[in-house]
């Protein structure tokens, strides 16, 4: 089996005069999970809707395995599944029937189908509700069924649009585990999220989007490095408040430290050169100073900083 690919070519979507998606160019290929990261309103849902033919692009094209979705939807989506926004499921159907509907549409063979559906349901921990009517479900339960529906038919490409929205923290963690377990040979997953920690936890690569434009695409490390440059950030916490004198005379004098500023009385944020090797030495030096170091951890990376400022700007 050849690698799956999805590709956006100059993908643009206008709503009246407003440009929700602005000339997106992105090609994903192979077996991996790519996070589509961006603040609310960045254009993530818009992109995934175009890829599932829920809306049409104003310009450009969305291709799955080289096939343009608009115009060849049935063929292009043949080996795909998608969860875009939170679809409502027909309230009079049971969870089992809702998945059977998808299995019928996808042409799943009758033999072994019962097991496939029951496994999909247990994967999202809804076994106890399998024959209950979806109309009675909470938003989170419906979302679980929606996720289960994307598992039907062993799809080679999976689109997930913020799959953890509407779930409680435990549900979010469970869904992330499910997405991780979906990663496998011959499968390309494209998952949008506005949560950086979610993307870095689940995904191998990240595509950063804001205001309908792609800002960066690459592995987590690549993209982090691109925003971080040479400088690292770490927070050092002490058992007692650190005075200016200690800061100037000892901490700032350490090798590779560029700057040190107090975040609060007991915590100091260090900016340093030299990557992880330097970070290790600084830690050792701080311990040697015997000024009561109790905690030392990598602070917000520049990626996080950049991302946080994107979010603040958007709000």
């Amino acid at each position: 089996m050849t690698d799956s690919s999805i590709e956006a070519v100059d993908l643009t979507k206008n709503y009246g005069k407003f440009t929700a998606l602005d000339g997106l160019n992105l090609r994903l290929e192979g077996s991996k999970c790519v996070g589509f990261l961006g603040p609310n309103g960045a254009g993530k849902t818009t992109t995934l809707k175009i890829f599932t033919d829920l809306i049409k692009p104003s310009r450009g094209s969305a291709l799955i395995n080289g096939l343009e979705v608009h115009g060849n939807k049935k063929k292009a989506l043949e080996n795909c599944s998608a969860l875009v926004e939170t679809p409502e499921i027909y309230p009079y159907m049971s969870a089992r029937e809702a998945l059977n509907l998808v299995a019928d549409l996808k042409g799943l063979p009758k033999s072994g189908r019962k097991e496939v559906i029951e496994e999909a349901i247990s994967e999202v921990k809804m076994e106890d509700w399998i024959d209950a009517k979806v109309g009675k479900f909470s938003k989170g339960m419906k979302q679980r069924i929606n996720i289960a529906s994307t598992l039907i038919g062993n799809p080679a490409v999976i689109f997930l649009d913020e799959p953890t929205t509407g779930l409680d923290p435990r549900g979010m963690a469970e869904v992330r585990e499910i997405v991780k377990s979906l990663k496998k040979k011959d499968r390309l997953i494209f998952m949008s999220s506005h949560l950086l920690n979610e993307v870095s936890d689940v995904c191998d690569e990240v595509a950063l989007i804001d205001h309908g434009k792609l800002l960066a695409y690459g592995t987590m490390d690549d993209v982090t490095a691109r925003f971080t440059g040479e400088e690292g950030l770490a927070d050092a916490s002490f058992s007692k408040p650190v005075d200016q004198d200690t800061l100037d005379r000892y901490i700032l004098k350490l090798d590779n430290v560029i700057s040190a500023e107090r975040v609060n009385g007991k915590t100091v944020r260090l900016k340093f050169n030299g990557g992880q090797a330097a970070q290790g030495e600084i830690l050792a030096d701080l311990v040697a100073l015997k000024i009561g170091l109790v905690e030392f951890k990598t602070a917000f990376s520049k990626l996080e900083d950049t991302y946080m400022s994107l979010i603040q700007e958007g709000n």
Binding site: Y15, K49, T52, D53, L54, I55, K56, K73, K74, K75, A76, L77, E78, C80, S81, A82, L83, V84, E85, T86, P87, E88, I89, Y90, Y92, M93, E97, A98, L101, V102, D104, L105, K106, G107, L108, P109, G112, E115, V116, E119, A120, E123, N146, S149, L151, I152, G153, N154, E177, I178, K180, S181, L182, K184
Partner: protein, 291 residues
């Protein structure tokens, strides 16, 4: 979750997405399942039964001459008198928000993002509403025939079967038309309201006013075409136009023309509504954005 718990899901399956006809069947099947579990179906069933029960009682109690003259007049009055109403009611109940509801309730997202043509969804839902409506129609017919057999014996006039065929065509046509409106509007209430207003007020008004005010034939109105359903229930098919003159003094007459569509004409009107609505409704649904 370990990868090996995904055994069945991960099993390499060579799945081929079924052809569109099969997928239409799937949509129809689940849409019918929705109908049969919803209150709406039973409300309509009760309305249909209530109309039938009322007719049964009135005929048995008052023995009206117009009904009990011949078996043909019986069916003309019973079936011919109410079937179009039953059809319009069914179409409003089953077709009125069939497509608009998919947008309003966001259920459309569950289907549309799958490898299935939008036209298959549209057609599948139409077939389901047609089947559900036919159940109503056949129930109504069954009770009419049961009464007819009670009063006139087993010999059912052949004109009734002609009328049933025409009613079936009308049913398909009205559904196609309501589907068009439900495809045009994203709000269920509006699409239902538009069909109600058209069928219960606007069309009957045009049918009545056009001939009497300007003496023109309302050949472009679907309810006019549907008059063939009752027209065939006559010993001889009614003439196309009858002029009745009422003297209004000084040698002047007020002329009223009553039109009955030719059989071919009625069929053509219904077919035209069917085809045009289907093409437009499908076109709109294909273009519609789930935004």
């Amino acid at each position: 979750m370990e990868a090996d718990t995904l055994g069945q899901l991960e099993e390499p399956q060579t799945i081929r997405v079924p052809d569109s006809i099969t997928q239409i069947g799937t949509i129809t099947k689940y849409e019918l399942l929705n109908y049969f579990r919803a209150k709406r179906f039973y409300v309509l069933l009760i309305i249909g039964l209530a109309i039938s029960a009322l007719l049964t009682f009135l005929v048995a109690y008052y023995r009206p001459e117009s009904f009990l003259n011949t078996s043909l007049t019986f069916y003309s009055q019973w079936w011919g008198g109410s079937v179009t109403f039953v059809i319009i009611l069914s179409a409003i109940f089953f077709g009125g928000d069939s497509i608009s509801g998919e947008f309003q309730n966001k259920t459309g997202y569950y289907l549309v993002s799958r490898p299935v043509r939008r036209s298959s969804i549209y057609v599948g839902k139409w077939v389901a509403s047609f089947i559900a409506s036919m159940i109503m129609l056949l129930l109504f017919l069954g009770i009419a025939v049961a009464n007819g057999v009670y009063y006139f014996g087993a010999g059912v006039p052949y004109q009734l079967w002609q009328s049933v065929l025409l009613a079936t065509l009308y049913m398909g046509s009205v559904l196609s038309f309501t589907f068009f409106w439900s495809s045009l509007f994203k709000t269920s209430v509006i699409s239902v309201l538009v069909t109600v207003i058209l069928f219960l007020f606007a069309f009957p008004l045009i049918d009545g006013l056009l001939p009497s005010l300007v003496g023109a034939e309302p050949w472009f109105v679907i309810t006019y075409g549907a008059e063939v359903i009752t027209a065939v229930l006559n010993t001889s098919y009614p003439v196309h136009d009858i002029q009745s003159k009422t003297p209004i003094g000084k040698g002047h007459f007020f002329t009223i023309t009553t039109f009955t569509p030719y059989l071919w004409e009625g069929i053509a009107i219904m077919l035209a509504y069917f085809v045009v609505s289907a093409v437009l409704g499908l076109f709109i649904f294909e273009k519609r954005e789930f935004a």
